[in-house]
């Protein structure tokens, strides 16, 4: 007889072996040797966690109690794998493309990243999985008990269950949370599970072969024995068969641990292609010897022996202790692998959907917590794992471990199947909404709790005995096993029927009457059209390619030098030789922060996520990117406007400065000119007055001549001063216009006479049009006359014709009265025309007496009178046009 200690030693050795397998796989994965870890056969074997202790031990029990009904549990998943391969492939592809981390994540993401749905599905999963974990603990405890004491002792069982739970949580914590792989892949665990899959298949086949050939003496004899037994005769209940098949198919898709190995740990379609036929084959082998074992157990063991343990007890009863130990290891493998993966899947969900949101919410005020997030995540995962196992243990302790294994399993299945409508609707129906999912899951969950889960503890544990007798508060329609008066079904089918049908109806109705948010719409499109997107998806090969991509992107954003420096620094920090660091979460965090400085946090997150593929680029990310881009565009538009403003201001300043400089130069030139104009006559005056003072010997003619020079120069000075004062007043001062009426002809007569009085200049003939001149002007006629005098005097001075003549014409024009002065000389050169009205500009080289202020004064006068004076080019001689404004002329008539 094998002692408990020996069994414990064997179990521990086996666990150490699994540790080693997981450790080696993990190390290989870290070094990038992942090809064999990703082999399709490993994936297929890892799916075998579907076959738990329930399948290993419980199937035989189920066969004893319900005949071939146990097959439905194998049939459902096989149908899914073979008949629904395309749907499964779509689910797996969505999982890969969207970087789904759990079933709660899938539902939450699909329905607009709803946190409420995430929490709901997580709770459902935890509650639904708890009995299942309890089932595993129970099976291990029972199996240990078989070896230890034929008469079971309750307290000892609880201790065993506790230690098994503790050991499993340790293993799971070590391998499930070794590192925070952004992809949620656990190579070590998956490899260990694949090994366990082989062990449990081998153990069950070994027991089966022993029973068929060792005990019964061959296949034909075995079949005869089966036919002879009660099992062969029991009828098949059609409805229950279909129900159970459907239920197991649904659970296969919805169980958190199945989702973990099938979707989250999936790497390629190739894995799924092999699993599509290899996994049903595996299950076929697992189910092959169930009935013979059951028949042998019924035949060989005393009536009342627990059929759930026939796989162990049949070999033991025949003295096959080695085979029994192998069988024990098979069952142990089944139980542990399920618990480990379930704990990982649930801890991911609990941590991502409950613990982290709460923690982040509490820590929202803290400015920076990037450094310790990793530790918080790991801690929350570890605590979640322990919590999940603790819950399983508590359920086991509460339920008393008396229930049949398969019954507990089916309670779990039904709970998790509530996710199915939202899951299928989510990936195939774009019209599915968050409200629909919430309504469906909520109603299904409630019915399941009330009609199946709570009663499963037994009458009087949670629901009072009275509820099972007359319904709550005596309302028969709410009896947990006969809702709405639908009695007569077995409690399981009853709960399945009501929960799933009402769930589905609520899901559809609420989806159709509610309106999806934009995020839901977009997520829905992404999920439903996943196959289209998947064909264009590019696979990424290894860490190096990612780092290279990151480098290319970082160079574009940060600039080549800075990006290389950053990567080199991080590579040194990691102890990696070469320029490219491994894309570890720490490095990605650093890179994202650096990029965020340049392009904004949301964009950086989206870009890094796009390349690493660790984070999905969600609609929220895109919207945040859009927001940032809009802000940046607005900001750059503002900058541009500011810079234009600055440019404009700078130009205005430059212009003002140029103008001031020009004015300053003009002022200098003006002063210089005045100085010259004053000093020149003074020179003559001083020189001649000194001569007259110092020379006694001047003859009277000379003396008279010099005196008249002095006199003339004095006049010239006076004239200059007059002009300067005049100009100064016109330019800057208040000019009092003396408005009078006078006929133009009279005004011109006086001007001609005044100009002729000046002794300088030649005689000039003046042609006038006396009729046109008969216009009465009302203006400052003295000022206007001054302009005329100046023009006539200029003609006298500068007209170089042999027979100088000046023509004065008068015309009326819309703009006013136009008076032109045109002589027959050479005219003014083009260059001179530009400066002729400037101060101190003289036409030609010759000295003509004036200081060059005349035309400048004329221009000022005409401006004051509201008219204009300008040079008329192309008239043969010098030609000036004076325009007197119409208003004055009209008034004159």
């Amino acid at each position: 007889m094998i002692t408990t200690n020996a069994l414990a030693a064997i179990a521990l050795t086996y666990v150490m072996f699994l540790f080693t397998v997981a450790f080696v796989a993990e190390r290989a994965a870290r070094r990038g040797h992942v090809d064999w870890l990703r082999a399709p056969i490993v994936y297929t074997l890892s799916l075998s966690i579907y076959c738990t202790a329930w399948t290993f031990y419980g199937a035989v029990g189920s066969a004893v109690r319900g005949g071939f009904e146990y097959l439905t549990i194998y049939l459902g998943p096989s149908l899914v794998m073979i008949g629904w391969f395309w749907g499964l492939r779509k689910l797996v592809r969505i999982g890969r493309a969207q970087r789904i981390t759990s079933i709660a994540d899938l539902i939450s993401s699909r329905y607009g990243k709803s946190n409420l749905l995430g929490v709901g599905v997580t709770l459902l999963a935890v509650i639904g999985t708890t009995p299942y974990i309890a089932l595993q603990l129970q099976s291990v405890t029972l199996s240990v008990d078989v070896f230890a004491h034929p008469e079971s002792d309750g307290s000892n069982q609880l201790m065993t269950a506790f230690w098994v739970a503790a050991g499993l949580s340790l293993f799971t914590v070590i391998f499930g949370t070794r590192n925070l792989d952004a992809n949620e892949r656990h190579h070590g665990v998956v490899m260990a599970i694949a090994v366990e899959a082989v062990v449990k298949l081998f153990a069950l086949l070994a027991v089966g072969v022993f029973v068929v050939w060792g005990l019964m003496g061959g296949v034909s004899e075995a079949l005869a024995r089966v036919d002879a037994s009660a099992l062969g005769q029991w009828d098949v209940q059609g409805g229950r068969w279909v129900g159970l098949t459907m239920l197991s198919a649904a659970a296969f898709l919805c169980l958190p641990r199945m989702f973990q190995v099938m979707v989250v740990e999936n790497d390629s379609d190739a894995q799924l292609r092999l699993a599509a036929w290899a996994f049903p084959l595996y299950m076929g082998l697992m189910s092959l010897f169930i009935v013979p074992i059951a028949v042998a157990g019924l035949d060989l063991l005393p009536a009342g022996a627990n059929p759930d343990l026939f796989v162990l007890t049949v070999p033991l009863s025949q003295g096959q202790e080695g085979l029994a130990v192998l069988s024990f290891l098979g069952g142990f493998s089944s139980a542990t692998s399920m618990v480990i993966v379930a704990a990982i899947a649930l801890s991911t969900m609990v941590s991502n959907h409950i613990v982290m949101p709460v923690w982040l919410h509490l820590r929202r005020d803290a400015a920076s917590f990037s450094g310790d997030v990793r530790h918080v995540v790991l801690l929350s995962r570890r605590l979640s794992i322990m919590g999940v196992l603790l819950l399983g243990y508590v359920y086991y302790a509460l339920s008393g471990g008396g229930a049949a294994l398969s019954a507990i399993g089916l309670v779990s299945f039904t709970g998790l199947a509530q996710i199915l409508p939202a899951l299928l609707g989510g990936i195939f129906w774009r019209g599915a909404t968050r409200s629909g999912a919430l309504a469906g899951i909520g109603i299904g969950f409630a019915i399941w709790m009330y009609a199946l889960f709570l009663p499963s503890f037994g009458e009087g544990v949670i629901l009072s005995r009275a509820v099972f007798e007359t319904g709550p508060f005596g309302i028969a329609a709410l009896h947990p096993h006969a809702l709405f008066g639908l009695g007569g079904l077995d409690p399981l089918m009853h709960a399945v029927l009501w929960s799933l049908s009402l769930n589905t109806i609520a899901f559809f109705v609420a989806s159709m009457v509610s309106f999806p948010s934009p995020i839901e719409r977009l997520q829905g499109a992404q999920f439903v059209n996943a196959d289209l997107a998947a064909t264009g998806r590019r696979g990424w090969s290894g860490a190096a390619a990612q780092s290279e991509d990151l480098m290319v992107m970082a160079q574009r954003i940060l600039g080549a030098r800075e990006a290389q420096a950053l990567f080199l620094r991080e590579a040194r920090k990691q102890g990696v030789s070469g320029l490219l660091p491994d894309p570890t979460p720490q490095f990605l965090e650093v890179l994202e922060r650096e990029l965020a400085g340049s392009v904004g946090a949301a964009t950086a997150h989206a870009m890094v996520g796009q390349i690493v593929g660790s984070m999905r680029v969600s609609v929220e990310d895109l919207m945040a990117v859009a927001d940032e881009t809009a802000q940046m565009m607005e900001y750059s538009a503002r900058l541009e406007a500011q810079s234009q403003e600055l440019t404009r201001t700078a130009r205005q300043l430059r212009e003002a400065n140029d103008k001031l400089t020009r004015l300053s130069v003009q002022k200098d030139a003006f002063l210089s000119q005045i100085s010259h104009e004053l000093r020149t006559p003074m020179t003559s005056i001083r020189a001649f007055s000194e001569i007259m003072r110092d020379s006694d010997a001047l003859d009277p003619g000379q003396r008279a001549k010099y005196a008249s020079i002095i006199h003339d120069e004095t006049l010239r000075l006076t004239r200059l001063l007059d002009d300067l004062l005049d100009l100064s007043v016109l330019e800057n001062g208040q000019v009092n216009l003396n408005i009078r009426r006078e006929r133009l002809s009279d005004l011109l007569d006086r001007a001609v006479a005044a100009a002729a009085a000046d002794e300088m200049g030649a005689c000039i003939r003046i042609d006038r049009s006396t009729i046109a001149e008969q216009v009465v002007l009302e203006t400052d006629v003295d000022r206007l006359g001054q302009v005329f005098i100046n023009l006539i005097a200029n003609a006298r001075k500068y007209c170089d014709a042999r027979d100088p003549a000046l023509t004065i014409t008068v015309t009326e024009d819309a703009g006013g009265l136009v008076i032109d002065f045109i002589d027959n000389g050479a005219g003014v050169s083009t260059e001179a025309q530009d400066v002729i009205f400037e101060k101190f500009s003289r036409v030609g080289d010759q000295k003509a007496g004036g200081a060059g202020l005349g035309l400048a004064i004329c221009r000022q006068i005409m401006a004051r009178l509201g008219g204009d004076i300008r040079y008329l080019p192309g008239q043969g001689g010098a030609a000036f046009r004076v325009i007197v404004p119409a208003a004055l002329e009209q008034a004159a008539e």
Binding site: R679, S684, R686, A687, F688, E713, K847
Partner: protein, 124 residues
């Protein structure tokens, strides 16, 4: 013989005054009235001294002065520069262009005579 003086000046009255002052002291005085061909006039008449107005019609006195200084024939010729603007800038311009002496209008006759005597003596 005191020397031959060429007055390059556009104001006839000033030419007359300088001529009177200098010829009374025995100088032979010539005049030229515009800037355009003043340098040619200087070379052609080869005076002992040039009195050069800074502001001439056609060409600046400073330009003419520079040209004369670059010509070996007239490089050492005493040139008395007259300017009516009287700013320090003009004095600088005159010195840089190579004027032997610089005078601001209006000048005293004694001053001009003294300058002419000094300049002709130094070269004689």
């Amino acid at each position: 013989m005191a020397g031959h003086v060429l007055v390059v000046e556009d104001e006839p009255n000033i030419i007359e005054a300088i001529s009177f002052i200098l010829s009374r002291e025995g100088y032979r005085v010539d005049s030229h009235g515009n800037g355009v061909d003043a340098a040619e006039a200087v070379r052609a008449r080869a005076p002992d001294l040039v009195i050069l107005d800074a502001m001439l019609p056609g060409r600046s006195g400073y330009d003419i002065l520079r040209e004369l200084r670059e010509d070996p024939q007239t490089a050492a010729l005493p040139i008395l520069m007259l300017t009516a603007r009287g700013q320090t800038r003009d004095r600088d311009l005159a010195e840089r262009a190579g004027a032997s002496r610089f005078m601001t209008k209006p000048f005293s006759n004694a001053e001009v005579l003294e300058a002419v005597k000094a300049l002709t003596r130094s070269t004689a």
